[in-house]
Symmetry: C2
């Protein structure tokens, strides 16, 4: 087979034309321009004259001539051991160049671009301090087994570097999940009804794109997860969101029917209403499914953290009661860790192809290695062990934080609605307090907390804070609650 | 802190109401129904009577009574060592249950759902056999360093399990990429202009959603990557694709201007036209940028495999020539491996927020661990070493396959257009041969090959095959080309 010439990476010299004029002069000019434009920066090494001569197919003397010229100009510098490089003395010049680049473009942004830029502000990740939601810290980190499986499956077998994979995700993980959700959540499905996603967010997005015809209506709980409402505000056209209030039994189905009987779908969080925390009652579940059956509507069951329940039995999933109409969404962000980016959608069979079809256009398929690691982690029972362990930790942290809030925060300004499960609690604020301002002051003081009001429709808005549970140091949490109390009192002063 | 009751996972028994009738009878009924419905399946273990009694808050005798009843009915079985479990004798019954579930739903699918279901068929991943594109096999696999970095960064430091991250991707990787693309591709950017993506596909998708107003037009090369054209066919509304033919110099800018002078953007593959393989000439680059400047149009520069060049110097990127108008897209799917799912978009500054805003709604952010691994792999020089190594391998494989094709495939039926770079070559077929049928027969024979005709507009369609380069065993490749030759001859017979 042919012997390969070593190829040097210097795109700037591509414009050299051997048939036009002296090559060494052209090369000198091209390299000088590359330094001026910033393609080559102070300290960058140049290829040896031998390598470059070979690449360009010219005599080595030609290269040496050009290099000597640039050394003389002070553009290049050279040392015995490291060879020729771009002179450090030029550092100032190239800085000027990058300033030039900051001149704003004149191309006007589209309406959708401006609208997505707004979305981003709301989703800034919180720092990993109390009371960020879902931070795998302290005793809630996955065990050493997770890391060992990672090493094992990456070095041999299924998890090694490989080519393009199935849009639906790897079969072993889908088999493991089908079994897991059946046992823990009464979800009835075959592995071929499961699509592995990067989390619930992508499932919500894809549902918003495939389930609706123009002018359809959709029920969204009020309050609801901003990741759901932001999609319907920004990423779909011609679909009307009908906000349906929730009470202590969950979504008010009767109100939904009054507001929009013919809605095409309902997005609900029956295990643990987001953000309020109560489960949907059996009566409401029955009513919701009866409506859906009568109207041929889809139910999107967002089951983001049902694993973390502190007492009693969970209700079986809606999916188990109506597998042909319910899209069940789960995630490992909450029970394992968010930076894993793995979740799943359980779909009625005829929705699998449409769901995967859009998925292919969005990101082709999930990364392979961690899917194999997770499949083994579930199948060998470690996930359920992990859940049992962390559930106790979260329960402990929850009681500790409840105690702190009772001790430090004046009841007339803020009171808890703890709920029986999940990774967060709601701390309601007195109606005259602006929760967004409180959250912003808290963030400035190093406390990660979110305002609840953006989860409500304008009509239903109430101030409150979403207090995430994480296994931070008790003293750190105590200080944070004390500080938060001060902030709330400051914002709660009569003006 | 409170002592936690052990919670048993049995959602099916949630309906038990302690105030209504005998609890053991209710429990018997609930468990029987759980087995009938498939919530509990043959072989599933039941919790111990002690655990379940504790969870339900009833006497242990109540549980034993119910279990005994179900043991008597043959629904449960028990063994000294493993405790009580669902009887294996019931396997047949639950199979009947799952048959019931296959009854198709009556909810009609939307137009978009039907359309996405069609997309999926075109993106079925090819098996990892010759001549699949981008399969990290043999000498093109990443070195042991990749795996070692994986183990290291996952066990301590930045890559350990963590919470929600930046939508834009981790800073260390963006810094490494900014430096890498400047040196290798003359791309001018700061790390804050880079967004880490799961690959070029997501970048294309997001561009399609943020750059256009309704009724805008867009230039798309003819032929072009199906991942681009499928987006504009299925995932956008009211945007007209204008297919602009390519010739040996790349996209015909003059033709583009004639067809659609006021297009809002042009999607191009200047380093290595996909799928034809030639680079865009300097004259065309200049003309394209002049048009874009005059029309305030965006250029989307898809640079999917410019790293794999076999001789000569690459042209500098379009981005370096007009950083305010060009969106530069890169990926590690080709130079490392596709199952990694990491790529990047280099954006004009004002597009970063809109791009990330939609990204948040699609999948929040990229998985963290591999970003840290890749950052170190690039920063410590291993990526460029890997590229130098695999470039030689691909060059060798390419020459070997060229030789095989010349030897085994009759020139009047099929001829190569090899090109100077990339991971694939085009094997044109005589005009009377149906390339989709050839590819399908090849696949049946275990040969992974793609038809080229779907990359063309209907008007420009020509038959051909996309022959991917991968370091398969030489004998395996020889057999595959011989077999492919037979298939081509069969399909090329006059009928």
């Amino acid at each position: 087979m042919a012997r390969m010439a070593k190829v040097v990476e210097l795109p700037s010299i591509a414009k050299i034309n051997k048939s036009q004029g002296k090559i060494s002069a052209q090369l000198t000019q091209a390299l000088r321009e590359a330094v001026q434009s910033g393609d080559l920066q102070p300290g960058d090494p140049l290829p040896s004259s031998r390598e470059l001569a070979q690449t360009l197919g010219v005599a080595r003397g030609t290269i040496i001539e050009a290099y000597d010229q640039l050394l003389a100009e002070g553009v290049f510098d050279s040392q015995a051991r490291t060879g020729t490089y771009v002179s450090h003395a030029l550092a100032k010049k190239t800085t000027q160049h990058s300033q030039k680049e900051t001149i704003p473009s004149v191309i006007p942004l589209t309406k959708s671009a401006l609208s997505y830029a707004q979305v981003l502000k709301e989703f800034k990740p919180l720092p990993h301090t109390p009371f960020a939601v879902s931070v795998p810290i302290g005793r809630t980190q996955p065990s050493d087994i997770w890391r060992k499986f990672g090493n094992k499956f990456r070095s041999r077998g299924a998890g090694v570097p490989s080519g393009y994979g199935e849009p639906q995700g790897v079969l072993s993980l889908r088999v493991a999940i089908a079994d897991y959700v059946r046992r823990s959540r009464s979800v009835h499905c075959e592995p071929d009804q499961i699509v592995i996603t990067p989390g619930i967010q992508q499932s919500l997005y894809i549902c918003s794109q495939i389930l609706f015809e123009p002018k359809d209506e959709v029920w969204i709980e009020d309050p609801a997860y901003r990741g759901t409402t932001a999609i319907f505000e920004h990423a779909v056209q011609n679909i009307r969101m009908v906000r349906v209030p929730v009470d202590e039994e969950g979504i008010q189905v009767e109100t939904g029917i009054k507001l929009s009987k013919h809605a095409r779908a309902a997005f609900v969080t029956p295990s643990h209403q987001y953000p309020l925390g109560m489960p949907m009652s059996l009566a409401r579940r029955t009513a919701l499914l009866a409506w859906a059956k009568q109207q041929n509507a889809w139910i999107i069951e967002d089951d983001y953290d049902s694993e973390l329940r502190y007492n009693g039995q969970p209700f079986p999933s809606l999916q188990g009661m109506a597998p042909d109409q319910v899209i069940y969404l789960g995630t490992f962000s909450k029970v394992l860790f968010p930076s894993l980016r793995l979740g799943y959608a359980v779909l009625p069979k005829e929705l699998v192809a449409p769901f995967c079809g859009l998925r292919v256009l969005i990101d082709r398929h999930p990364p392979a290695a961690d899917q194999h690691v997770l499949a083994a982690f579930i199948q060998e029972g470690y996930l359920e062990r992990h859940i049992r362990r962390t559930r106790n930790v979260y329960a402990e942290v929850r009681e500790y934080i409840i105690g702190l809030i009772e001790k430090y925060i004046p009841q007339e300004l803020a009171w808890l609605q703890p709920g029986d499960q999940g990774m967060h609690m709601v701390l309601w604020l007195a109606h005259h307090i602006n929760d967004i301002e409180v959250a912003s002051s808290a963030l400035d003081a190093g406390i990660a907390i979110k305002a609840i009001s953006p989860t409500f429709s304008k009509e239903q808005q109430r101030p409150g804070l979403i207090v995430g549970l994480g296994d931070f140091e008790p003293e750190l949490m105590r200080q944070a609650i004390k500080k938060l109390s001060e902030i709330i009192q400051q914002h709660g002063k009569p003006t």
